[in-house]
Point group: C2
Chain length 435, copies 2
C-alpha cells in the first residue's frame, strides 16, 4: 500500500511505503540523504545501511523508487517527517545524468525560452514549474463553476470549418477529403447560432491562428474561453458577466490557494467590483497628454497604451482590471453592433495588468442588418461558412453578446509571468511545433 | 426585469415580463393562444385583446417577443401557469416560415441525417433535441468532478503536432509556416510525458482522424477524454479507475436527472460495481460457439461481437458495461506493454451497450524496451515527434496506463441514440464539413 508524501505526518513511527522519483542526493556530515518526489511533495530519506546505499550506486535523478521505511518526526525536515531505515527497491533505473537540474529554479528569461521548451518533459518535474499548471487547472475549474452557476451550457463545437469565417489570412488551411478546410480561429459563429437554442453557452477549447509574428502575447494555438448570452438588456450586461467571472475566479482562487500562489511570487490582484469603463478615445487622449505622442487617430490601442491605461486604472480607480469601450467603427467586424448615436462599435476589451485578456462586444442581431454588414465587409452570405449562421438570424436571434477570453493570458497575468508561452505546457509559435 | 418561465409559479397573480421565442400559435375554441419558449421552458399565453393579437399578424415561429402579462394559476397549463392580458412587444420579427417545424419531434432515422444536420441551427431549438446536449454538458461536468476528486490534473495539450505520431494514414496534414504539421489524433504522447511530472493527468478535447468510412460510430472530429496515471500496481488499476468513473458519472447523472433522462426515453444502465473482464480469445470462443462463425483467428472484435458480448454480459453478469482484455500481440501499438507470460497485450477495451467506448492499456515504461518496440514498429526514435517523448522515458517513468474515452459515444449510449453523430452538435464526417 502506497502512502503519499503529504500523508506521512499521520503515520509517525509506523512503517510506510512511498513511491516516487529520486529528486536529489546529498551527503551531509558523512550521512547519505536523498529526496524522493511524488505528486504530493518531497520527503527526505536517511540512508545509513550500506547495502541500501549500494543499490543507488550509479543511478541518477529521475530513478523511480519504492521505499519502505519508518516515518520519523523531525521538525527540521520538510513536512516535519523524515524516513529512516529504508528498504529500497529500484523500480526504474536512470543511468544518464539529466540535461537539466530538476531541482534548480527554472530560468524564465525570454532569451532562454528555447531551452525552457526544449527540456519541457523534464523541467515540468520541477515542483515550482508544475505549480503554474496546477494553478491553471484551478482557474479552468473555477471558470466552469461560475458559468454553470449562471446557467451557461457547456458546448463543444467543431475546429474543422468549411471556410475562414473570420478573415482568411490568419487561418490554417488543410485538405479535408478533397475539400479545403480551415482550423477554427474561434467558435464565434457557432456560439451565436446556439444562442437561438440555449440562450447561454460557453466553450473552453483550442483556437488556431497562423500568426507569423513572434511576440510575448501571441500563440499559433491558444486555449480560449468563449461565451455568448442572449436577451441582454444592453452591452453592459456582457461587461457585468465578464467582471463577475473575473472577480469570482480570482477571489476564490486566492481565498483557497493563497500559499500556492504566494510561492509562485504572485500578488493578489486589486479589483473593484465593477471595473472602470473608459472609451478608446479617452485612452488615446490620456496617453497623448501624458507622453506627448499623438495616438488619437489610431483605431486600436497599442501595447504601450494598454500598459499605460492599466497603470492609470490601478492608481486612479483601484482596479487592475478595466474595460476599454467604444472602439472606432474602422475596427468593426461584420458581426459587431454599431453604436446608434456615434461612429463607434459596442465593443469592449477587458484589460488586466496591462494586457488585453478578452474582447467582449455586443452583436448585431437583425438579419437584414447582418446581411448588409457582411456585404459591406466583402463577404458572401451564400458561402457555406455563413449560410447556416444566417439561418439562425433569419429565424429569430435576440439581442446578444459575449466574449472571447484568452485562458493562457489570464493565467500568465494572474501568476505574473513575462510571456504567455510560460503559461502553456507546450506552446506553439512560428518557430516551435515540438515538443 | 425578466422572469424566466420556470419561475412563474412563484409569481401568481402578479404582473411579470417574460422574453423568448414564439414557439407555437394555436386557436382553441375561438381563443388565441401562443407558446413562448425561453431557456427554462414553455409558457402558454392567452391573447384576447385584438390590438395585441394584431401585433403578431404575419409573424412566424422564432419571432422574439417580450411579453408583460398577469401570471394566472391554471392546472391544465404546462407548468401550472398561464399568462393573461398580455402586452406584447415584438423584439425581433420573423416573417419567413421556418423550413422545419420547431415544435415537432425530430426525426432521428439514419436516412434523415442530412436533413437533421442541414437544419441544425433550427432543430436545436426543439426542446427535446436540446436535452441531448444538456445531458452531454452534465456528463462532462461529472467526469471532471470524478477525476479532480481523484487528483487528476486537467491539462491542455497541443493539437498541432510535428509528426503523425500514431499512424500516418489517418492524420490530417497541414502547412505550418512552411513545415508539415498534423492534427492530433489523441494527446497520447503528451499525457504519458506528463505522468513524469503530475502522475495523474486528464484532458477533454478534440481529436482528429481522417477516417474515410461512413459508419454510425466514427467521426472525423470527436471529443475525447484522455487520462493517464502513474504508479499503477497492475493493469487492473487502470480498469478500476475506468469502472469507478463510469459508475460515478452514470450513478450521479441518473440520481440527479431522472426526469430529464426519462423524457429522452433513456433507461438507467444496469452496472456492476466491478465490470466483468473477459479476454478477446474468450469472446471469440463464445461468439463462434453461438453463431457457428469462426472468429478465433481475428485480432480484434467485430462490431457484431461487441454487441454479442455486451448482451452476454448484461444477461449473464448483470452489467451493461464490461472489459474485453488481453488483445492479441498482432494488434499491439508501440507504446503498449506486452503480457510477460503470453502473446497478448495489457490492453482492455471498455464496452458499453454494445459499443467500444474506451481503450485502456498499460504502457511500456522501460526506455530500452520502448526504443526496441518503436524500431520493431518501423518508427524512427529520432523523429521530433518522438524525441521529447523518449526523454521522459530515459529519465524515469513509473509503470503507468490510461485510457482514451469517446465522449460522443458515451453520450450516445447513455441516451440510447442510434448514431454517434446524434450526440454531437455539429458532426464531421467524410461528407460533412458544415454547418
Amino acid at each position: 500500500m502506497r502512502t503519499l508524501v503529504r500523508d506521512l505526518a499521520g503515520q509517525i513511527d509506523q512503517s510506510v511505503t512511498v513511491k516516487g522519483w529520486l529528486h536529489k542526493i546529498r551527503k551531509l556530515g558523512g550521512l547519505n540523504f536523498i529526496n524522493l518526489r511524488d505528486r504530493s511533495g518531497l520527503v527526505q530519506v536517511l540512508i545509513q545501511d550500506e547495502v541500501e546505499a549500494e543499490k543507488l550506486r550509479g543511478l541518477q535523478i529521475g530513478t523511480v523508487l519504492s521505499i519502505t521505511a519508518k516515518a520519523v518526526k523531525d521538525e527540521r525536515a520538510p513536512g516535519g517527517v523524515e524516513l529512516h531505515e529504508p528498504a529500497i527497491e529500484v523500480m526504474v533505473p536512470v543511468t544518464d545524468v539529466p540535461p537539466i537540474e530538476i531541482d534548480k529554479p527554472i530560468d524564465h528569461k525570454a532569451e532562454n525560452f528555447d531551452t525552457l521548451f526544449e527540456h519541457r518533459p523534464l523541467n515540468l518535474r520541477n515542483l515550482q514549474e508544475q505549480k503554474i499548471f496546477r494553478v491553471r487547472a484551478l482557474i479552468n475549474q473555477l471558470i466552469r463553476e461560475y458559468l454553470v452557476d449562471n446557467e451557461f451550457v457547456e458546448i463543444q463545437t467543431p475546429k474543422l470549418l468549411a471556410g475562414a469565417t473570420e478573415g482568411g489570412a490568419e487561418a490554417f488551411k488543410l485538405d479535408y477529403f478533397g475539400q479545403e478546410a480551415t482550423l477554427a480561429q474561434s467558435p464565434q459563429l457557432y456560439k451565436q447560432m446556439l444562442v437561438g437554442a440555449f440562450e447561454r453557452v460557453f466553450e473552453i477549447g483550442p483556437a488556431f491562428r497562423a500568426e507569423p509574428s513572434m511576440t510575448t502575447r501571441h500563440l499559433a494555438e491558444s486555449t480560449m474561453l468563449d461565451i455568448e448570452m442572449g436577451f441582454i438588456e444592453s452591452h453592459d450586461d456582457v461587461l457585468k458577466i465578464t467582471e463577475g467571472l473575473v472577480n469570482f475566479v480570482i477571489g476564490k482562487l486566492w481565498d483557497n490557494n493563497e500559499q500556492l500562489l504566494k510561492s509562485l511570487n504572485a500578488t493578489r490582484p486589486v479589483l473593484s467590483e465593477s471595473f472602470p469603463r473608459i472609451s478608446v478615445a479617452q485612452v488615446h487622449e490620456l496617453y497623448s497628454k501624458d507622453t506627448g505622442e499623438d495616438t488619437t487617430k489610431e483605431k486600436d490601442l497599442s501595447p504601450a497604451e494598454e500598459r499605460f491605461i492599466s497603470d492609470w486604472s490601478k492608481q486612479q480607480k483601484g482596479s487592475e482590471a478595466l474595460f476599454v469601450t467604444d472602439f472606432p467603427i474602422e475596427a468593426m467586424k461584420f458581426y459587431h453592433r454599431k453604436n446608434p448615436d456615434q461612429d463607434t462599435v459596442m465593443w469592449a476589451d477587458l484589460l488586466f495588468r496591462g494586457l488585453e485578456i478578452a474582447t467582449a462586444p455586443e452583436r448585431e442581431n437583425s438579419y437584414a442588418k447582418m446581411i448588409e454588414q457582411m456585404k459591406a465587409a466583402g463577404l458572401d452570405p451564400e458561402h457555406p461558412g455563413y449560410k447556416y449562421y444566417l439561418t439562425a438570424f433569419k429565424y429569430g436571434l435576440p439581442p446578444h453578446g459575449g466574449f472571447g477570453f484568452g485562458i493562457d493570458r489570464f493565467v500568465q497575468k494572474i501568476i505574473g509571468l513575462s510571456s504567455v508561452k510560460e503559461a502553456v505546457l507546450f506552446p506553439r509559435d512560428i518557430n516551435r511545433l515540438a515538443p
